[in-house]
């Protein structure tokens, strides 16, 4: 039996001493300086050339994909998009520090992690065009990816819901004796949801091997972080829950990689959660339905453009002699061509047959849904021109 009780850690004071914010300093780990040089006092994480280049090209691919798909949305070819510009370092470097058996539960701005796991251009496109090859069967909005074979949990729109789920998933991994952890991504806005409190507290109390990875990018749509919380960011809360915590420069891939690798090691060895707060900036609009010029300045954005995680990593790679910039430029141009070609090809793929409207609600299709489907099919057959995407393909 544990002897700990609720007074175990309580010291005695004899003066009225109100504790104020800021007494505990949570610094930000930075290994790579803004100029792409490893800080003298910092320890460069062990990272081989192949892994480093994979991280770099994945970040570039993510940016190429984002640029192309924002344009595609503007052209009306897809209904919605959500770019991750400026945050590729945080998502790609954290994914690179994990093992393939680790579960990723993401919010929606972590396409870099999924790309790092090997999700192909075609798979990204299938999902965004909601076609019949899309694993979600065209049921969810663009960017709601999911890939069972890559241990990437299907994304849902409600914010923060994946946080207690990640605690539960990790508990299950522990009980099954798997050498695996769960990483749970969310933004600093989502951390205001009750589910953040629920999930982090439960993970701490129930000893779950989960990494909570917060992308603190300064904004939740139009709401700046200073209207989101008054404390010392998200990291200070981890301490309050008894969770091991680190704050890291989210635009420094070496810092994020080292922090995540250490977090994974601790989570697995000690069966406990670790919280990482990655400080970054949302250079992109919140989504294609948002225009940031209404709530922030061009000067502010320009300042952060200079801190671009991709450019910073490039300088480091060049200094190592690992990157040929001319060859890389050609590679990026090739990526652009490939993404455009896939877009043109995939947008021709039809959507699922109407039958898929009623499957997967339950494990089996209940009689009332069978009846609703039959009636719907009869109706579509009567007015085929009103339902052009499915009318020609009814059995």
């Amino acid at each position: 039996m544990k002897t700990r009780n609720h007074l175990s850690h309580v010291g005695i004071a004899h003066e009225v001493n109100i504790i104020s914010n800021g007494l505990i300093d949570i610094p930000m780990l930075q290994i790579l300086s803004q100029d792409g040089v490893v800080h003298k006092e910092a320890v460069e994480p062990e990272l081989d050339q192949e892994t480093a280049l994979k991280m770099y090209t994945t970040m570039q691919f993510t940016r190429v994909l984002d640029e192309r798909m924002v344009a595609a949305q503007r052209q009306g070819r897809i209904s919605f998009y959500l770019a991750s510009t400026g945050e590729e370092g945080a998502t790609v470097a954290s994914a690179a520090a994990l093992e393939p058996q680790d579960m990723i539960m993401s919010q929606y701005r972590e396409q870099g992690s999924l790309a790092y796991r090997g999700y192909s251009t075609e798979q990204f496109m299938n999902q965004m065009f909601s076609n019949e090859k899309e694993p979600n069967k065209g049921r969810q909005m663009p960017i709601h990816y999911g890939a069972k074979e890559l241990n990437f949990m299907t994304i849902s729109s409600p914010l923060g819901t994946q946080i207690p789920q990640a605690a539960g998933y990790a508990y299950g991994q522990k009980m099954a004796g798997e050498p695996a952890v769960t990483i749970c991504y969310f933004g600093e806005g989502a951390a205001s949801e009750g589910d953040f409190h629920a999930g982090v507290n439960m993970a701490a109390v129930l000893n779950c091997p989960v990494i909570f990875f917060c992308r603190n990018n300064g904004y939740a749509i139009s709401t700046p972080a200073e209207e989101q919380f008054a404390g010392d960011g998200i990291a200070s809360r981890g301490i309050g829950y008894g969770v091991k915590t680190i704050r890291v420069d989210g635009n420094d891939v070496l810092g994020v990689y080292a922090a995540t690798q250490k977090a994974r090691e601790i989570a697995l060895a000690e069966n406990c959660p670790v919280l990482i707060e990655a400080m970054t900036y949302r250079l992109a609009a919140h989504s294609t339905s948002d225009d940031p010029t209404g709530y922030r300045s061009k000067e502010e954005e320009a300042k952060w453009q200079e801190r671009d995680p991709i450019a910073r990593m490039a300088k480091w790679l060049v200094s190592k002699g690992w990157l040929d910039e001319d060859a890389n430029k050609k590679e990026v141009e090739q990526m652009r061509q490939e993404v455009l070609q896939e877009l043109k090809r995939v947008e021709q793929v039809p959507i699922c047959k109407i039958d898929e409207l009623v499957t997967d609600v339950y494990a089996e299709v209940p009689p009332i849904l069978q009846k609703q489907l039959s009636e719907l099919k009869a109706h579509i057959k009567k007015y085929p021109e009103a339902y052009p995407k499915t009318a020609g393909r009814i059995d």
């Binding site: 069972k148 849902s156 946080i163 990640a166 439960m202 109390v205 609600v361």
Partner: protein, 325 residues
């Protein structure tokens, strides 16, 4: 066979489910060593250990969120919400997450192994927040099943079926009957079918439909009406979602009359769904309007509990009005 009350039957079902499948885990507020505020989880922690039977922090959205994660991983969580009245903080996790998990991922991920147990219903001087019957809120949500037993035999068989069903199930236990309803329960493993109503007593003049604790109310009203020569067919719906429209409609085609009784408020209650479906399918058989005997459209009261409840007298009066329409 053994004599058990509903709590003992639930406890017995949990023991069997945990013995049968090591992936089954039981958790919630106070369910651990203490065995639950109603003692439904007594002795489980002693037998199966703290890893499989444990207390959670006091946070309903967390309990269900955690359970969703566990279920999607492949475990078999049986989560307890201490009172149905306190399920609403978890409404988002249940409605937006649990219910849509399989559909939204195209079947890649599911939380079909999840069961949520919660005591529900009034009649215990529980006031606003220890009396509610929230089934209709969830009946409007495709993707989850809702099951309500009426006695110990039903409770054990339906709970075992719920835990093993490949869909998330909200299992609502009539707390007024937890200790009051005692009956013979087989000690071995058995299951009762989900989605199937049960004709408890056959009759020819009127169909009476209810579920959970209200079953004994309509049975009592039927006895009164029988003295006036009215033959009632009594049906326990058992599953609110998906519900067994065929059994109800077959009965109404025979009797020509229907009365539905539930504790929850009238407006938006599940009786409305049943009534609309039956009038659509049995229009030519109906000889009187469908009667609904339900709670009032008020929060659940304390001092006026007796007046609020759709009791046997209100039900009897409604039977007679329907018969003499």
């Amino acid at each position: 066979m053994a004599k058990m009350n509903i709590l003992q039957a639930v406890n017995n079902a949990l023991h069997i489910a945990m013995e049968d499948n090591e992936k089954v885990m039981v958790f919630g507020e106070d369910v651990g060593h203490f065995g639950g505020v109603f003692r439904a989880t007594s002795n489980l922690q002693e037998k199966f250990g703290r890893d499989r039977v444990f207390n959670t922090p006091l946070v309903e959205q967390g309990i269900i969120g955690f359970a969703n994660g566990l279920a999607s991983q492949g475990s078999v969580p049986v989560a307890e919400i201490q009172f149905g009245d306190y399920i609403f903080p978890a409404f988002d996790q249940i409605v937006n997450e649990t219910a849509k998990f399989r559909y939204r991922s195209g079947g890649q991920f599911s939380v079909g192994s999840l069961t949520i147990r919660t005591p529900y219903g009034g009649g215990i001087a529980g006031g606003h927040y220890h009396s509610q019957s929230p089934e209709a809120f969830f009946a409007h949500c495709p993707g989850i099943k809702i099951v309500i037993p009426r006695n110990p035999y039903q409770a054990k068989g339906l709970l075992l079926a719920s835990i093993r069903d490949d869909n998330p199930v909200l299992f609502m236990e009539p707390k007024r009957l937890y200790r009051a309803s005692v009956g013979e329960v087989p000690e071995e493993d058995y299951q009762l079918p989900l989605g199937k109503a049960e004709v408890v007593k056959e009759g020819s003049d009127i169909t009476l439909l209810a579920w959970g604790a209200q079953m004994e109310i309509i049975e009592k009203a039927a006895e009164m009406a029988e003295k006036d020569g009215v033959s009632s067919e009594i049906i326990d719906l058992r599953s609110i979602q998906p519900w067994d429209a065929d059994t109800i409609c077959q009965s109404v085609e025979k009797t020509g009359r229907l009365l539905i009784n539930h504790e929850a408020p009238l407006t938006g209650g599940f009786a409305a769904e049943v009534a609309a479906t039956v009038q659509e399918r049995c229009f030519l058989n109906l000889e009187s309007p469908i009667a609904r005997v339900c709670g009032l459209d008020t929060p659940y009261p304390l001092a006026h509990e007796k007046e609020y409840m759709p009791d046997h007298l209100k039900t009897y009066e409604a039977i007679m009005r329907t018969m003499h329409f």
